[in-house]
């Protein structure tokens, strides 16, 4: 199987920077922002975005982590049992602009589960979606508001996001 690197460390850094700018532009600043990263890698990407925003605006938006295992639509069909991790959302989402952050957007089911989860915490003013990679093949009518890179993939290919925090290197590869 061939491995293709579609994003290297430098590009990732610039992409995250660009996304942070776009978020600030659309939301007219950082004031009502709440950033929530979807486990596992979404959390680190969310962290970097929050840091960048702080760099740019001087305000660091509150950060939360979301585990969507209990909202999955397929949990009784899987042969492996994903461990339920902790969800920590230490702020109110009521009337706020929630920015959901995930590493890869594929079928859209994870995003759907995440939206349902957020709704159980309150009624946000808006939910916006950041993804580092959009690899197509949507099964639900879901779109990302901020996309790092869009790439056409085959269903039998795998898109892997590697981050310094979890994998020792920053890169996105297609296997």
């Amino acid at each position: 199987m061939s491995t293709k690197v579609i994003m290297d460390s430098e590009t990732m850094s610039r992409t995250i920077s660009r996304i942070a700018h776009e978020i600030l532009e659309r939301n007219k600043g950082a004031k009502e922002l709440r950033i929530i990263g979807i486990r596992t890698r979404g959390i680190h990407i969310a962290q970097r975005i929050a840091d960048k925003i702080e760099e740019l605006e001087g305000i660091k938006p509150p950060l939360g982590t979301l585990d969507i295992t209990l909202y999955r639509d397929d949990f009784r069909r899987r042969s492996d049992m994903p461990k339920v991790q902790k969800t920590e959302i230490p702020f109110s989402v009521e009337d706020k602009n929630v920015v959901l952050v995930d590493d890869v957007l594929y079928t859209g089911r994870t995003t759907r589960a995440a939206i349902d989860a957020i709704m159980d915490y309150g009624r946000p003013a808006s939910i916006q979606l950041v993804v580092l990679v959009d690899r197509g093949h949507r099964e639900l009518p879901i779109q990302a508001d901020y996309v790092g890179i869009k790439v056409m993939t085959l269903k039998n290919e795998n898109v892997e996001v590697h981050l310094k925090e979890t994998d020792g290197v920053d890169e996105v590869i297609v296997v």
Binding site: L70, R78, M81, K83, V84, K86
Partner: protein, 309 residues
């Protein structure tokens, strides 16, 4: 690891990894109970039956809340309301409930082994909410969870269990759970109430409460039932509380940060002196929310993973 059990009947059959997995899952479940909307859709469309042959408001309520927080459809079935009074067997009762679509049955029964009968004969997942003198896994898991919360680690702790061990399902489940997680377990009670050969499980047997309490980290007091005195196992409640009742004075032998627990309801003045009972009360209230989290974890794991097994 994968938690691949279709049933949770007791802690004897679970490995230490499986027990830890349940406790870790419960941690995440605890968060659900702390939000405004205390619900997740994990068990949506799953029918759970609470089949309680013994009266129990607390355990049943705890299971019921846990089931509802997971969005399950809940059916409560108690014998006084039902055909069991007319002589229907346990199996027939359970089969009828299964036919109505129940896929998880939570059963509490006065006879040891009742959940095993159901697990053998039915297709549903069975959760044991207490069978006779045998096991009470959700209570023990909840005790382990609480101890872990307070003491951070269970391995190496000196845990003392006091009271009518022979007739206590809470004691048996706790013995299995604590030993598997590496604690040193001591059981104390009148010799007539210590089960035969229990030393074979690696617990230390004491007949003297004071010596058992030396250096204890955790003390679990069991409830004394009046019927035991009537069946001749000890002469009087007064004598029992003199030798086996916990007082502040006696507690001084334990470690300073000792945690005292009781599965409730407490017989003030018998197992615990009034002042100790007040201290214990605060731990008990904490255990209520832990209990719901533990039961949510058990239901989730059994309904999702094991069903495919």
């Amino acid at each position: 690891m994968n938690f691949r059990q279709k049933h949770i009947l007791g802690l004897e059959e679970l490995s230490s990894e499986e027990i830890k997995f349940v406790l870790d899952t419960a941690e995440s479940m605890k968060e659900v109970s702390e939000r405004d909307v205390k619900k997740v859709p994990a068990l949506k469309g799953v029918t759970v039956v609470n089949l309680f042959f013994e009266p129990s408001t607390r355990t049943r309520a705890s299971f019921e809340i846990a089931e509802k927080r997971l969005s399950a459809d809940v059916l409560n079935f108690t014998p006084s309301e039902s055909s069991v009074v007319k002589g229907e067997t346990l199996l027939d009762t359970a089969r009828n409930l299964e036919a109505m679509g129940a896929s998880v049955i939570v059963i509490r029964h006065s006879m040891s082994g009742a959940p095993w009968l159901l697990a053998r004969e039915l297709r549903s997942s069975i959760i044991n909410a207490g069978d006779g003198s045998h096991e009470h896994p959700s209570q023990a898991l909840l005790d382990l969870f609480t101890v872990r919360e307070i003491k951070r680690e269970i391995a190496g702790l000196k845990v003392v269990i006091v009271g009518d061990i022979s007739h206590s399902r809470v004691a048996r489940s706790n013995v299995w759970g604590l030993i598997k997680l590496g604690a040193e377990v001591r059981v104390v009670g009148p010799p007539t109430m210590i089960p035969r050969d229990i030393e074979k499980t690696d617990v230390k047997v004491y007949y003297n409460l004071d010596s058992a309490l030396e250096g204890a980290d955790v003390v679990i007091m069991l409830r004394i039932q009046k019927e035991r005195q009537e069946s001749g196992l000890f002469p009087s409640l007064r004598e029992y509380s003199r030798f086996y009742g916990l007082t502040r004075e006696r507690l001084k032998r334990a470690k300073e940060d000792v945690v005292v627990m009781h599965p409730g309801p407490i017989n003030r003045g018998v197992e615990l002196s009034s002042e100790v009972a007040d201290d214990v009360h605060s731990v008990i209230l904490n255990q209520v929310s832990n209990g719901i989290a533990i039961r949510m974890a058990m239901l989730y794991l059994v309904a999702s993973g094991g069903g495919n097994g």
